[in-house]
Symmetry: D2
Subunit: 353 residues, 4 copies
């Protein structure tokens, strides 16, 4: 159960980080968390390998009244100055690892999630899932709800698609992610999938972000087509502020004047986000370019500049795909990519699995 | 009650327009509409001053089986070729006029809707509404739900804001529009407001668009920050395809590399949309520039190039505003603008009211 | 003869403005200008209606040694803080009027310069020039050197085109502007034309800007396709810093993701530049949109938001034009535009001539 | 001596490729080249490993009169359909290798060119050049003419800078490239440098491109900030059409709405250009990001997606640099980068030298 942060007009919200001394026990921590809670602030408990770090979110005037620097178990108290707080590296210096089913994303691993743009049939999903698993993908993607520019385009199979996804995921043993486009669908999607995708068009659908913050399942948050990196981090902050720390950021291309590609994949976002945030970052080279031929080179480049993984569109028969066929890899192309990718992943100091 | 269009994967949706002969009666029209309905297609009834026009939306193969060209009361049958159909001028050559409460938008009038970015208090709304009415605004705006980039910014008063808006609207006799950000809020907002705003960040929130298509109250649909004009027209198509013809398009600036202004107001969108669509188009020079000093010049330019009206941010005390103060006009500035605007509106062949 | 500003690596250039007291005579001014010159600084003499204003440009450490605040005839000494100095309104609060031949640009007039994209033949120029003069244009445009994206496109008639332009300008009594693309051509173009155009692709060709600064003929400086307004003002500063104050800025559209128009015309640049600079600003709605149908609406919008004039492409037979035919007006369309434009110009407080 | 292509207005230029039969001798080729020349067309001689390929550029009607398909030594005649001809892979299926001094660029090598943004002094160049050579750079960069946004910024040492560059290049044995900004400087720069840089702001300075086409020294052509990939290829076509085949394309970032980086480095341009053109492509991660911390990750990503090399800014003391210090690497950082780069270069199938 997340806590809805309601802000009065005259209120300014702040976040403080409280680093405890090495000798502080769990009891000390709990005592401080109780004090924070008693003042109506939102308490955060973030145990680390060496130190326990606590946090408090709320009205800056109330926070000013905490005076925790006087507590003998507190080593330091510090305000987060970036516009985003909980996603910031200031609050959490080490890389966060998010578990998608049994698959850890972030840290030393390079994770490849693959599958079709849209779930079209049981047969299409089964064939595609088996192919991507055989080639080394560790998780499955597939859309049941497709946000399409035209109301006359295929909009996805809806609940029927979710059922197919669940069955194929169970059969293949791959955890599955799928896009959720509406608050009312969050519960249903949560039951069927191992993780949510929040698409580029919904990156600033703040009510959806808050609803995803109420879940504890991982959320792959895609950068909006006109969103600055700071906007993406603030969108992630919406989810973390509701209590869900399991966010994976995804670069998928931005709108520019270039017309040869569908979007312009901004790979410099990867090292920049890594500098500013502790969250894992993956890359979607399929939407990022819109062209099958560019998926391989951009996947390697993503690995080279420090991405934590990929979200790749693969279809058992791209020429028959109901959406995004032009950017979907053939199973054979995906298998080749996975082989070619490995030395780049290794050179970047990670393992491909 | 709108009709949800569900598309099977293998289906391609088409729209045909059926122009009846002058002698066709309502009975003839009803008979054809029944035929369309009986085939599982969605029937449209569009009576004009001289001719009755009918439409059918659905699977192209089913439409192929209609054979209406053989009906003696049918003058012509024609497929809509643009990717958008119902919003296209092809289907509806004359300008559409949308009624916001008693206020007609489109056609010969230039309509100014004004008010604060966010509803902050009863007093603030009352003072602002009285000021804009006195200066000549014919409708009121004010946000109860504010989509904000940061979760720590003021998010609007919610239902309490809607109550204030309704009271002030009733008191001043001005119809009121307010933003809706989530499907679950559509019913509530519909009860309190005379029209919806669908914000730039939600222009491609297709589930919200479909929900707004179920209403019959006007929807001001703002162009997304990375949306091409074609994308905007397709977003409007979502609303019309659900049965709500009362859509007002709104240009509010797009993302570019320029940093001196908040967005780049694309006024060429106005004559371009007028060429392609029958829907009214208004301009938001406040978000479009982000700078109070540019609102007046851009408002005049909007009138000059054929816009049907404005959405302007006015605040009784901009220096105290909880959001967007930098772009809000002082009441005195708004009064001056309304006076200066009139000759431009008249030169454009419209009346300011 | 302009003064080439050469800057040593370790030097920082500053500009100071020296406002003289009302009683200061020309002799006082000359004495101060001599002091400025003697220190190796560049002196500027800017007499106004009420006060004489002087300036000094050069190494900030030398300027620090001037100590003019101690001079009894000096009222105030102030440094220009904007990155651009001579183009800034700080240095020159009133609107600058630039004379193109006998035609004043800026101030109370709205000036329309019209003609074909490229000079193609004597006949084409004569017919077009007569048509635009009859419709009310007060100056002629026509390109002899055409910067074209492809080396295989028509590149202009070169010197032969300049001869045609001069003859037609003399015949019709209209001053003529034409684009110069290269330092080596500046002298030749200066002999044949009444003013230069510096195109968008050359806005940051600083050697060309410096060469144009050596002339005293007017320069229409077009905004680059990726240039911020500040970049445009700094480009103009290059010309003024060389001694040529006769610069007319021109908004002609920027590169964005929108593909329905050739560029996105940024009309908010007009009031923004007016706020920051004293230079006249005109608008090119032909290149700004790339579509003939949008030229009229955008021309009116430009007048409405305070532009000082237009640069419009008109061709006697657009369907035969060797370049930009799609955006060129027919003579009849131009005549209609000039009539429809007048009330907007008048509403903006200017006169159309 | 290049041939200036002058096009009459009514002329349409075409390029045809003539593939000779295996048995054709040099004499046969010369005979055909004479026929091409006799018709006033421009002949091209392109001997390959297996076949000799000839070309003809000129008026399409004249080309139509060639009738070379009837020549018994001709295997095939084919028109180039892309808007660019000589840069196209259609005309030249294998990768072109350009020699910068003794250093081959393209093909199996990954070439790193490094040095300061601007030449500031003999000492600064010597120290920087020795450092980059020690770390593995094979060529030197340094600007004598700096195109700067403000006329009051350091503009480069000019001819004095060229002298320093030549001396340091000779001393260290590294070939040197430097930017040329003006037609009048081409001869001087050619005497001092081993290759030209044509900067982003001059990518569409077509007179400069033509002048560079008259040289035979390599030209590093940087993509303009608002240039589509097709525009870049057409700009290169200007140089090749004048007779200089030694062009190296350079991706250096484009203008987008993102403000966290100076530009957005578009790495998808690399595989896309490789698909469409035979010319080598390098990447400038320094200007492409504007941030020293991002240079390393983007350099690795460039190697991973198939670039032929890098242009990197290194300064012996970045904190004292007169320009671009924020994006210049310290010598130690550059040495680390070169070490870390190698496995990525190897994984991409190239050698780092």
């Amino acid at each position: 159960m997340g806590i809805f942060l309601f802000f009065h007009p005259e209120q300014r919200t702040e976040v403080v980080i409280i680093v405890l001394k090495p000798q502080a026990t769990r009891q000390h921590a709990d005592e401080i968390l109780r004090q924070i809670d008693a003042l109506g602030l939102r308490p955060l408990y973030m145990p680390g390998a060496e130190r326990v770090v606590l946090g408090a979110i709320g009205d800056e005037r109330v926070i000013d009244g905490l005076h925790l620097e006087n507590n003998p178990m507190v080593e330091s108290v510090q305000r987060i100055l970036a516009p985003y707080k909980l996603v910031s590296r200031e609050i959490h210096p080490h890389d966060t690892i998010v578990n998608l089913g049994q698959v850890p994303i972030g840290g030393a691993r390079f994770t490849v999630i693959a599958g079709p743009c849209a779930i079209e049939s049981r047969d299409q999903m089964t064939r595609t899932a088996q192919a991507v698993r055989a080639a080394g993908a560790v998780a499955l993607r597939g859309g049941a709800y497709k946000p399409r520019t035209s109301p006359y385009s295929f909009q996805g199979l809806g609940p029927e698609g979710l059922t197919i996804l669940r069955e194929v995921a169970s059969e293949t043993g791959l955890p599955a992610v799928t896009e959720v486009v509406e608050v009312a669908d969050v519960d249903l999607v949560e039951r069927y999938a191992d993780g949510f995708q929040c698409g580029a068009r919904n990156m600033q659908n703040y009510r959806l972000l808050k609803a995803l913050g109420q879940s504890r399942k991982p959320v792959i948050l895609k950068r909006g087509m006109a969103a600055r990196i700071e906007d993406l981090l603030l969108a992630a902050e919406y989810i973390l502020a509701e209590g869900n720390p399991n966010v994976i950021l995804c670069e998928r291309g931005i709108q520019t004047f270039e017309t040869a590609t569908r979007n312009t994949l901004d790979l410099s976002a990867i090292p920049l986000i890594k500098q500013k945030s502790h969250l894992p970052v993956i890359v979607d080279p399929s939407h990022g370019t819109g062209l099958r031929e560019l998926v391989g080179p951009m996947a390697k480049a993503a690995a080279a500049c420090g991405a934590d993984g990929l979200l790749v569109e693969v279809h058992c028969q791209p020429e028959l795909a109901l959406s995004d066929g032009r950017q979907s890899l053939y199973p054979g192309q995906f298998a080749t990519l996975m082989q070619e990718l490995e030395p780049f992943v290794v050179a970047a100091g990670k393992v491909l699995r």
